[in-house]
Symmetry: C2
Subunit: 297 residues, 2 copies
Amino acid sequence: MNAEWIAVDWGTSQLRAWAMQGDTVLAQSQSDRGMARLSRDAFQSALLDLIEDWLGAEPVDVVACGMVGARQGWVEAPYSAVPSAPLPDAPIRVPGTDARIRAFVVPGLKQNAPPDVMRGEETQISGFLATRPNWDGVICLPGTHSKWVQISAGEVVSFRTFMTGEMFELLSEQSVLKHSVGDGWDADAFAEATADALSKPEQLAARLFGLRAADLLHNQDKATARAKLSGLLIGAELGATRPYWLGQQLAIIGAEGMSQIYARALQLQGAFVDTANATQCTLAGLAQARKLTRQTA
Amino acid sequence: MNAEWIAVDWGTSQLRAWAMQGDTVLAQSQSDRGMARLSRDAFQSALLDLIEDWLGAEPVDVVACGMVGARQGWVEAPYSAVPSAPLPDAPIRVPGTDARIRAFVVPGLKQNAPPDVMRGEETQISGFLATRPNWDGVICLPGTHSKWVQISAGEVVSFRTFMTGEMFELLSEQSVLKHSVGDGWDADAFAEATADALSKPEQLAARLFGLRAADLLHNQDKATARAKLSGLLIGAELGATRPYWLGQQLAIIGAEGMSQIYARALQLQGAFVDTANATQCTLAGLAQARKLTRQTA
């Protein structure tokens, strides 16, 4: 089975590849050989391990987005400055590849003031907008580093990044809270913590220790603690992004579970939310990026 | 050299012991065998390794405070509930010790609502108040888990704990910010970040990612990033504790460097701050705890 082209989402900790025929997925494959684990000369073999069966005699286009384009990545794809279309520039060709592939990396976006960057989300945004002409509003992309992106007339006007997901991981797995936070969920506790953080964001560090103390003194359920921890962090994020979501057309692009959590938190504040599948947006965006490679070839 | 008694500060990650003659330190010793690294049957040998040279034919009192009294410690010393004196109950005798020592562990304090706990700080507070009769006000004890403690008529009325120090460590050493935060200090950047967090605490997670982006886009100095990270976290804590410090008599008990940072942040907000040496307060408090063991013996 030969691919017409190959789509690649190459993040910090994960590598995913799809064999494509036009917009149709023929096969997919993934590994944990993310950008952070690879030296520059290890990228190609990490990719070939996943896609070798999809290659034939003719060179195949490989189009990759994400941290693979960082300075420490396979090839540096310099940021484009906003305001701009999500994919304003042609992807960067990786030099000196195996003869069976023509590999390209999508540039990220940067904002000079306040300083901010994205790599990967620009591709999802482009894919999201591809099927929604004239869509204006705000896109939330929850994740390790959540993004809030203001869209107008097909352009990314501004954006902000929040370390919410990374803080959740560090606090639940590496801090003293790891003893008090467990699996499971408690929707009421999440709603309460979200509202609490929205109204008193400065109390975050005290509320966090309170999760430990509630366990020690009152045997608080570990699933309740998990939901409260998530609610405190997401509530603070919603407090900071209120101008982004209040009275705006709003869409969430993310993995199913995380999107649902953000959608619920926003609905509790009275916001109307649309959701879109992150993988579908990525693939649609990479297809658009591929068109840009052909215009410059 | 025989000690009259032995003072011990036994925290999560560190063990410190002092050979005492009345209030005078004859010798001191320390190791990294904190409570978190020890199983219950390993506490005594970890201690004897430090103090063996100070022991004689007669049993010597050993008085310990800190996490050594937690459920997973040497012996559980149940919390006393506030409001109460900092040392309301006699220390707990450790059963079955080596015949050369009589070991005691100081109970911590708990607050049922909002839930909160301390172990070790109650001893420092007692030592601080010992030389300041009729002192009313607020004590700040910065550290991994900062405490703010309201004192009135010799009692701990209420307190709150903030995970500020632990968040600083996790973010600077384990998160994506580890690439952008380095050694050194920038007093102006600290002051600016403190004021920023006081006025917009909900922006914390975005300001944190901004430290990474400012490095990537503008090569921000790594010492500046360190000072800003500290200022953002401490500024949020000061925003939450404003009712504790605004117009109150205020003292900081802590290690020299950390106390200076908190004192500077508070002075920038117009607060007047007294500082006290943490080790001296611990030793004075342990001397008082020892008196309580004699009353019950």
